[in-house]
Symmetry: C2
Subunit: 136 residues, 2 copies
DNA sequence: CAGCATCCGTTATGATACTG
DNA sequence: CAGTATCATAACGGATGCTG
């Protein structure tokens, strides 16, 4: 019950952070680096957001994300699938269609993604202002 | 039964996500991409975590992060400074010392970072298991 | 339709040497 | 100490053509 990571930014965050101060840089050992390596990829988060509204087919994803190449779309989806965040189901139609969806694990990642998204949205202006000030 | 995403983590998350479904991919316009471009950098998040426990000097950061080169450390700190997340103070000692610290904006970013970190920590095992299963 | 293979330019990052 | 400059390389990512 007291798993309140809902809204306590203050004290325990630093504690948590401190635990990673000396974290190894090897992604195989450090969860931060490991997850980041995925989050950091250019398209994966966008794909997660697309899939947050429901299963989508390969071509639908490509259309909606906009300017992603088939190459990168395939690769990103494979990475997400490999990490267990996205499931892939092939329908033996002709021509075949493939549907991608979030797994339970994938859905659980929407919360941290949403928090990040919200922060980004709330502070984008500040960041841009800081850049202007810095560049000037 | 359809594999509808039955269990929503939180109702408003999907709403928020939906708002970014058609988000432009241009970082100058899309906050998600813009923030991600920073989060995605190999070292910035690690540096933020290092600085979460207090101001640190250039050499201290290099030592604690571990295997970051001076080149990347300088560049990453500059980027963070430009975005207004980190402040830089030069002390005119000889030889000079420079201290880096989080700004208010930088501190506010610790919450989303912490949420992400927690998720990473909680689910790292699952991800690794998924990878083993996928590769096998 | 979905996705793999190939080629190729761009960017990210490391190693090293040098400076105020 | 805290960088900067330069070079070299590896990873990233787009374009294209081919296939079941």
């Amino acid at each position: 019950m007291t798993r309140a990571h809902a809204s306590n930014p203050a004290p325990d965050i630093l504690t948590l952070m401190a635990a990673y101060e000396g974290a190894p840089d090897d992604p195989a050992v450090c969860p931060i680096r490991d997850v980041l390596d995925r989050v950091a990829q250019k398209w994966t988060l966008l794909l997660m957001i697309q899939l947050s509204t429901g299963p989508k087919r390969f071509s639908a994803l490509q259309r909606q994300v906009g300017d992603i190449s088939k190459r990168m779309l395939t690769q990103s989806l494979r990475d997400l699938e490999r990490d267990g965040l996205v499931s892939r189901e092939v329908f033996p139609t002709k021509p075949p269609s493939v549907e991608y969806a979030l797994t339970d694990l994938g859905r659980s990642s929407l919360e941290p993604i949403a928090v990040l998204t919200q922060w980004a949205d709330n502070n984008h202006d500040r960041i841009r202002q800081a850049r202007v000030a810095f560049d000037g």
